[in-house]
């Protein structure tokens, strides 16, 4: 009987090892797949890590790129002008933001005569959308809808790394690849055919600081800006997290000492 049991154990162990190794092998094609669909390279963003914060100047430049390029096609429905001067954001002054907002014409109303009217933007206004509805947006973009950018940086696998790679990923279609009408070739977009024409080029936007007006910088800055619009409370979250974790570590230490003391009597 004893002998049988040991045999049985060896068998069981062997089975166990087989299952584990099979799973490891199984995982391998999964990894390969991810690479094929364009796993984006992890970049070193200022907001990464437990102490990460946004780079104010970068967000201001990113806003400018969004404003001058992307906003022609993409809305940001969850962002208000007032957010631009809020803590943890691009750090514009409220005066600057008033000026920024007033550059837009916003439809309001109806007034006492029952008419809609146009007025300059206010701090409380959301960023206006470029198209009045999805249908017109599609008509203007060859049938594709330019998605709202407010939370897009969180809505893609890879997050900001993916957005950056997408903006940098435009290339001449390789020989043999047939692009549909109005489509561009992009290395990281699924299936490599994207309805968004390459949106930015060198020198397209004039920066107000000394930053080089290169494609890399535009892509980085507008991506950081999109990360802020997606996660506007990131800095507050990191700050609070530090305090909470520190408190819990100390509290856990004290509780451990208490527990030891309580149990000392019965061990």
């Amino acid at each position: 009987m004893m002998k049988q049991v040991t045999h049985f154990r060896t068998l069981v162990r062997a089975g166990l090892i087989a299952i584990v190794s099979a799973l490891v092998v199984l995982a391998a094609p999964g990894v390969g797949q991810a690479e094929e669909s364009g796993e984006s390279e992890a970049l070193d963003w200022s907001f990464n890590g437990p102490f990460g914060t946004f780079d104010r100047a970068q967000l201001q430049r990113g806003y400018k790129v969004y404003r001058e390029v992307c906003s022609a096609c993409h809305s940001m429905e969850f962002v208000s002008f007032r957010n631009l001067s809020e803590e943890g954001g691009p750090g514009f002054t409220p005066e600057q933001v008033k000026v920024i907002a007033s550059e837009f014409e916003i439809e309001d109303g109806p007034n006492d005569d029952g008419d809609m009217f146009m007025r300059p933007g206010l701090l409380s206004d959301r960023f206006p959308a470029p198209f009045p509805n999805v249908q017109i947006a599609r008509l203007a973009n060859g049938g594709a809808f330019p998605p709202d950018l407010s939370v897009l940086a969180k809505a893609r696998v890879g997050g900001p790394d993916y957005i950056y790679a997408l903006l940098m990923g435009y290339e001449e279609a390789p020989a043999g690849v047939e692009l549909a009408i109005g489509m561009s070739y992009n290395t990281v977009f699924p299936n490599h055919q994207i309805a968004m024409p390459e949106p930015i080029f060198e020198d397209a936007v004039e920066y107000d600081d000394e930053t080089e007006p290169t494609l890399e910088n535009y892509a980085r800055d507008v991506t950081a800006f999109m990360m802020w619009t997606a996660e506007p409370k990131l800095e507050a979250r990191h700050r609070m997290g530090f305090k909470v974790v520190l408190f819990l570590l100390i509290f856990a230490g004290l509780l451990y000492a208490t527990k030891r003391k309580v149990w000392a009597a019965v061990h």
Binding site: V5, A230, A252, L255, V266
Partner: protein
Amino acid sequence: MSQLHGEPYQPKSGFMKWMESRLPIMGLLYPTAVTFPTPRNLNYWWTFGGILMFCLSVQIITGIVLAMHYVPHVSMAFESVEGIMRDVNYGWLIRYVHSNGASMFFIAVYIHMFRGMYYGSYKEPREVLWILGVVLFLLMMATAFMGYVLPWGQMSFWGATVITSLFSAIPYFGDMITQLLWGGFAVDNPTLNRFYSLHYLLPFMIVGVVVLHIWALHVTGNNNPTGISVKSKQDTLPFHPFYTAKDGFALVLFILFFAIFVFYTPNILGDPVNYEKANSLVTPEHIVPEWYFLPFYAILRAIPDKLGGVIAMFASIGVLFILPWLDTSKVRSVSFRPLYRQFFWILVIACIGLGYLGAKPPEGAYVIWSRILTAYYFLHFLVILPVLGILEKPRLLPKSITESVLGNGDGDKAESKG
């Protein structure tokens, strides 16, 4: 057997004497929660019950605050959740605690359940206690599933569509059930409304079943790492201060783990696609449920027939209800069951494997492995456990818990350290 009781409550102040002779609430709580006799050798795996109560409270409190700002309408749900994240004071914190809290709840419940299987806590006389636990698990799954629909993202919508459509496989009643779930002919606003209503209701039903679960616990008392029953007063310690101190320490470590997710990677457990608003015209490339459903999702898809898949999925939880009778061994704890120990770990690995496969597209080797592991899952419960109890020769049991703690027994010494 009636309730196990610790030392009774003695009111000291005049007010409490007055109160106790009218509403003896302390008389009820004190011997069940303060002086309750608890085996002296419980290890840290026993702290997860308390942790689960904490998780439930956190979900209810954050949920009630979310409900003050959330709008259950297809044209406003996604927007209102973004409003919570941006414009409600500390709304981001409340939402991230609630959404990560659901995952923490499942981590804790899975540990709690596997603990029960490892130490044979489902066996006589704790069958009803175990069954109530399985009921809690089902209610939690229903609650989490419906909660995930509320933010009305792409995965909310498509997850709801896939899972509710499963019911259409039920012969004869199928269409009736799906239409009842949907409130129409597809997932839409009425679906969102009824899921919201039920998502608010079910946690309170969970509270009710938790009360029964604890009641049942207080009749039989705790199991323990040796699996042998409490024989004398010497084998136990009063719950307070011994286990309040131990549970408290473990809870804070758990909160620490929880906090790291909430503050540093709040979205890592969720699918990014759910930050895109629901769109019934665009199907996401892969429809994947939340991680805690993946093993069951793998079982569902392992069976080539829709109805068969649904049956297998429900049966995978169903077997847990009859587990106390499937396991024929008289010995509870794995510490004295050398063969069961191996099979226990194989089951754990099979479940993790199923979870991995549930996240993969249902094609090629993934399907084959899902089938193998699904078959193994049922084999474990329906064949291995009954046979093992008969074939296995358990190791010699210590005479008492106290003996095993003092070290001259054969118990799991390492596990019985306080």
